[in-house]
Subunit: 330 residues, 6 copies
Amino acid sequence: MPDEVEIKWLCDIKPEALAESLRMAPDAKTTADYHDLLNDPEVDAVSICTPNLMHLQPALDALAAGKHVLCEKPLAMNGHEARQIVAAEQKSDKVFQVGFQTRFTGEAQFLRKYIDSGAMGDIYYARTQALRRRGVPGWGVFIDKEKQGGGPLIDIGVHVLDLTLFLMGHPEPVSASGVTWNMLGKNPDLYNGWGDYDRTKFTVEDMAVGFIRFANGAVCVLESSFMANIKDDPFGTTILGTEAGAEIFFYNDQRVRIYRDDNKELFDLTPRSIPEVKTSHVAEVQAFVKTIKEGAPSLVTARQAMMLNSIFDALYKSAETGKEEAIQLV
Amino acid sequence: MPDEVEIKWLCDIKPEALAESLRMAPDAKTTADYHDLLNDPEVDAVSICTPNLMHLQPALDALAAGKHVLCEKPLAMNGHEARQIVAAEQKSDKVFQVGFQTRFTGEAQFLRKYIDSGAMGDIYYARTQALRRRGVPGWGVFIDKEKQGGGPLIDIGVHVLDLTLFLMGHPEPVSASGVTWNMLGKNPDLYNGWGDYDRTKFTVEDMAVGFIRFANGAVCVLESSFMANIKDDPFGTTILGTEAGAEIFFYNDQRVRIYRDDNKELFDLTPRSIPEVKTSHVAEVQAFVKTIKEGAPSLVTARQAMMLNSIFDALYKSAETGKEEAIQLV
Amino acid sequence: MPDEVEIKWLCDIKPEALAESLRMAPDAKTTADYHDLLNDPEVDAVSICTPNLMHLQPALDALAAGKHVLCEKPLAMNGHEARQIVAAEQKSDKVFQVGFQTRFTGEAQFLRKYIDSGAMGDIYYARTQALRRRGVPGWGVFIDKEKQGGGPLIDIGVHVLDLTLFLMGHPEPVSASGVTWNMLGKNPDLYNGWGDYDRTKFTVEDMAVGFIRFANGAVCVLESSFMANIKDDPFGTTILGTEAGAEIFFYNDQRVRIYRDDNKELFDLTPRSIPEVKTSHVAEVQAFVKTIKEGAPSLVTARQAMMLNSIFDALYKSAETGKEEAIQLV
Amino acid sequence: MPDEVEIKWLCDIKPEALAESLRMAPDAKTTADYHDLLNDPEVDAVSICTPNLMHLQPALDALAAGKHVLCEKPLAMNGHEARQIVAAEQKSDKVFQVGFQTRFTGEAQFLRKYIDSGAMGDIYYARTQALRRRGVPGWGVFIDKEKQGGGPLIDIGVHVLDLTLFLMGHPEPVSASGVTWNMLGKNPDLYNGWGDYDRTKFTVEDMAVGFIRFANGAVCVLESSFMANIKDDPFGTTILGTEAGAEIFFYNDQRVRIYRDDNKELFDLTPRSIPEVKTSHVAEVQAFVKTIKEGAPSLVTARQAMMLNSIFDALYKSAETGKEEAIQLV
Amino acid sequence: MPDEVEIKWLCDIKPEALAESLRMAPDAKTTADYHDLLNDPEVDAVSICTPNLMHLQPALDALAAGKHVLCEKPLAMNGHEARQIVAAEQKSDKVFQVGFQTRFTGEAQFLRKYIDSGAMGDIYYARTQALRRRGVPGWGVFIDKEKQGGGPLIDIGVHVLDLTLFLMGHPEPVSASGVTWNMLGKNPDLYNGWGDYDRTKFTVEDMAVGFIRFANGAVCVLESSFMANIKDDPFGTTILGTEAGAEIFFYNDQRVRIYRDDNKELFDLTPRSIPEVKTSHVAEVQAFVKTIKEGAPSLVTARQAMMLNSIFDALYKSAETGKEEAIQLV
Amino acid sequence: MPDEVEIKWLCDIKPEALAESLRMAPDAKTTADYHDLLNDPEVDAVSICTPNLMHLQPALDALAAGKHVLCEKPLAMNGHEARQIVAAEQKSDKVFQVGFQTRFTGEAQFLRKYIDSGAMGDIYYARTQALRRRGVPGWGVFIDKEKQGGGPLIDIGVHVLDLTLFLMGHPEPVSASGVTWNMLGKNPDLYNGWGDYDRTKFTVEDMAVGFIRFANGAVCVLESSFMANIKDDPFGTTILGTEAGAEIFFYNDQRVRIYRDDNKELFDLTPRSIPEVKTSHVAEVQAFVKTIKEGAPSLVTARQAMMLNSIFDALYKSAETGKEEAIQLV
């Protein structure tokens, strides 16, 4: 936590969770009702870490109370909710930042800067992957379609798709074809790397694939799984531009690679000056604070986050209808 | 050429081409009119190697003349033509084999047999790639949309998509979303690995991506390029089944890898008994001859090849309309 | 130490060792006479960690006192002693577990389960290695034939041979040919990786090799050294079955590899779901406690451990006589 | 064939084999009766390439006729036959060389010279391997116990054991414990890398392991297989000396590595000056000719080759009796 | 710090630095005037860690006061200063050790011992490198020619050159040709791995190369940089002897490799018994204490360190004059 | 040989050499006196392949006769001779090309073009190596100082130094410090990779190192050996520019690697579009013919080649005097 930040309030409806949090911020006041802290004029900013289906109202209230907001991802349960927050954001002069921390890794920052220099030309295609071979999170509500809204697409696909849109410069998504399967996740005969779970409760997709069109002619193919018979667990994206292409992957295969043409010669590039970011979550909070202090525009706006919710709405609908579906942004 | 085969006729409208061919088969008769050989009752089978737009009539005539036919890929210029050949094939009792030689590699034969054993379960997704970084064939008509019908999709994508359908067991394709770009191929500032060419004549796509739905719920994402800013030139396919997944790639990365679950344990498998096939084209001809002698059904039917033409029709149309398009099979 | 375990007594004849142990279990009672704790009715189980030549009497007394016993390996100084403990074990209804912790690694557990599934067929040959290039433990009594009974065979060979018998399903050993050398260990001109020591006191073998026959026709070749001019320090075993073969190695080369045939195809398998066991000693204690609580049979019986003592008896005798020797089990 | 050699006669009982051989030596005389060429005073040396069970009489006759002899390996069907040839060799002043060509590889020559320099000290242990994963030679008589006498031990184990004895300096073998199995070779469900064969005719062992004691206290463990569930096909030997150890392997893993101690420091050595021998068979013939011309002693004596036959006699007997057996040398 | 050492005094002119040091040695007396401790008869030895330009007087005073001295490297600002300390050293009977800790790494100790055994013959050439790709230490005075005297040559080149002279046995340097550049260090458009700095203040060389002749005919080429467009950051030396050559490198490429000839055979050697030295600085202090206690000669004499200062004097002068310059040792 | 070239004459003083050459050009006229062909007006160009000490007069005569000349490297025995040819070249309007074929490799052409684009900035340092571990050419006159003029410097160092000057853009060399040794080449106890030779006749240096200054402030360190105790045989150069550095190496390590800075980011570059040149000698002849036909300036002028002779003169002199020597260019 940056030095210039003071934690004034902790809010939770569960007393034991409050107690736990107090250990890290012993001087903070506590409450079970978030309006208490919104009413405190000494509070400048709030961080919303409630479950997904509890983002909407706190976000609207916080902005209405004139607070800066750092809100966990995904922004909302669906595009409809998300667009309400966008409307509030647009009326506010406060910083509203959504918690997409992958953007704050050294790799993403490096590549964004490289693209900004024009070195990749126009980006027209992305192959984006958040695939796990056997990584079903059997705890919590991750496998409960009712409560979570979806499976790997919502949970981890959201990270790599946000990264991809960030690198592409947020072109406007237009329509999407999607497909989801639930064949491995409910099969009790399969190994799971994160421990066994009740297969009968697995109601989300175990894998989803989407084909997303953007207004500028670009396309993104998105693959995401909790379980699939593949090698390793790719988490990242490959983007193709008219001047160069790039790969950016994390975890067991952390790397950025660039493939380009210069003066009619072909090169493979290995960047050697990627900044080391130990914890992207810390970097994200530092950026939020810096943005507030400098009066700068939000680095991760609600509008950008809303696009993701709207894309997922279209993908899930397309998976049901078996047809391409339009993406609703307003 | 298998020993049991005798080359009786050579046919070409260009005398110098005939002369060249005679060097390999000095005892053959020659003609510029293919009806001559179709009328020869001693001829059992013909091989059609004419340009794509000259496949239809010779194929129909050969079948009508009661000859077995080995016809170069792609079967026809489009689905409409291809379906006429399918109709003729269905009325004939002769062997009609299309020249998709990739199926006859040791890798493809191995994997097809592995799938047949049920070891992969149901195959529900394929990521299929025939990508070249800088491999524009600047000669002939490969870059002429008018004469060739399309770019990498038609020329090399056809091979890996045929391989993929072969491995999937030819499920019925239903609809497709496609996108094509022509941004690198016409850029005179880019290197080409196969020599320079007149950039202004590059009228085909340099890259195409498709999302293809099948009636059984499976999906295939197809990527194909003559030019793209990527590492190396992947040529092959990744298929995911409910019991196992597999990768099969050729050229600079020749391999088959399998990822599976057995008794709730996870394994990476490297096959060590893939048959060595020196030249898949020779293997294809041997298979054709063996099929005829045994009175067996064709190993690469016109109907299977027609599916590819029809899928490409839908992909190119979708690339123009910006919308998913139905695939016409009848 | 599992939560359900309470340390009631510490016993040592050396007061300073007791003092040291008390730091980890400050509430325990202490004694120099192990009968004190055997007489305590609140004690359910004892752990015997005395030197090898002090295992016999405490083990017999503990079983006689109705305690469960976890006894360090090797079980005894020789087969004669070991068989006395087996006799006591057979009369007792308590759990007697010997401290062969290698069985409790994730690798060993994985492979044992794999063999149990029948996937390897009948195991007929093992090449078992506990080889060190320059790893003489110059301290304590490891190099003193008189006090230790032997060299690498007794000290580290015992681990890999136990692992091998565990994987083979404990077939009955019948006879053994052995050879031992003491040529490097006493040579003052050779490097030792664990520090210099008095070469004149090196009276054990520096390397031993054995050829062990089992009643079911299987054979095990065992190699063990403190010093040998070899690459690295292999520690593990290779076992061949009629359906598959497997390698399991530890330390600088931790791996399990499987080589098999399925449907007349050949595969190399890399398991990807081996459970991570941080400390096999902890896993061993957890298993001991679980066995007691569930009233299950011992996972490492005295009888299994006795086989090892008897095999070593035969190997050492054979090394002296230069002839194959019978293995005495009763 | 060295220039100084002239092929005078070709002998075979099969006319078509003679015709084939004549293509390489058109000026040679031919016969079906080898006495014709033994009677020709212009013949200095003969090469015996008859089947194993036809080595004895020709070898005795050739020596009796005063010819130098190059005889294919193994020397004879068993030790009894081999010892008769040794007796004849000892009475003759001609060169009798047995066809163990592995000694003439650059690797073997290098290591033999290295050992001669004393750099390895005394060699006391060898682990010798001629293992194939799936390499049954289904043709000829290789799998026919009756006609061939044995399986991999006789066919390929003989090469690596000869190499090992050559490197050890031919210590006198004393006794051997052996085991053979025939479990994979006759199983029709297993793949074979060299094509299918009639499993019911596989009467030799598919794998053999031996433990061989020498008079000087050294021991050799020998492993040989046509089929075993292992990685790759190791073909070579590992020898341990008091000053250094060495590995020498051929084919897919061609290498010599040395592990040694110098001045109480430890080193891995990669030799960089191994002579390139393109064809060890040619080198063997060149050596034979050179030996004759220089009047030097044979480089591969009948006595050395007899040791191998006698060791195999003991191993096969031990495999039957289940007991260690003495090796008969006289 | 070895147990037998007691820290009696801490001396610094900056009170806050003294306070910091007291935390590690709370019982020490403190002073801002180093004469206080030189006057204390209970002080046996002093450690001089002042900036380079403050080595001369304290060193002379300490020796005059009869103290043993451990003095940080480089010994002095230039050869002229260094030679005054050498003169004092030669008159004293105390141990004067200079802080070249690289000599105390396991790698350097191993190789020095190997050379001492005569195994490398005469060393006649060294290629010595302390190169950084982008490692400008922008803080302190490292880039200030005025205060630091030079750039990478003084700061890091000094380490590898000392190592090289140590391995060569300190032959007498005779003359040197040098060149320095300052082209990258002052360029604000270049990346620096250790953070940005004020490019206008970069007044030292960014790279230097020297060619140094010794009286025995040997030559050393020295390369050192803070910034250069190279792969990685080699830090070490390659030395060629008449019997063998060796490479010794540190950091991202820690290794010793030896290339030699034995009995007209060629070998690559990988040492496997290099002692593990966790912290070479600790090893250096331990050696200092041991030397004092044993009354042994200093392991890093002022005379050896003076050679380095004198070589640098010649190199910098040569870089200015563009001509080879003599090295002044007296 | 390019099609447009006709070989009219073959000239040699040895009749058997002429006979041999006639096999490749059966229609050519032959002579032992080169004036015959210089007098033939149908001859446009001559190729001089005489021994080094026979380059001068034929070169002068050929230019005087108005012929284009392709002259083998090195241009002459020393700078004095070379400067006479330069004088003749400057008076002539014909193409005079020296046989430095390394420039015509794809790697050199690629890098020269890359440097021309300005991508490397100013090149200020080169480390140039033509080192062999055990590669003494014992035949011919390569080891005869009298007849050959020098050892590896003259024979192979000349290639890499020419390459380096070519890449640096031929800055003017000013002075050089050199050293040569002859310690390994004459030692009969050392292995040689190319066969044994009479050690007493080895009168050239076995290794040479030079430090060469250029007028523009750049420096080149050159290392060349026939024998040295090193890993492998590096043959190529490393050049450092203000914007980028590059390595170019041939044979067992064929590669170009570039290390650069772009927009304050650091990259390793692997070029992927290096043209494949099968035989650089053929490429050299093609370039010679093309230059003549286009009336273009020579690609390898006598003046460039003279620089190398003059540098070697200075290096050898410096090796004798032990001092830096000036390089004489006029």
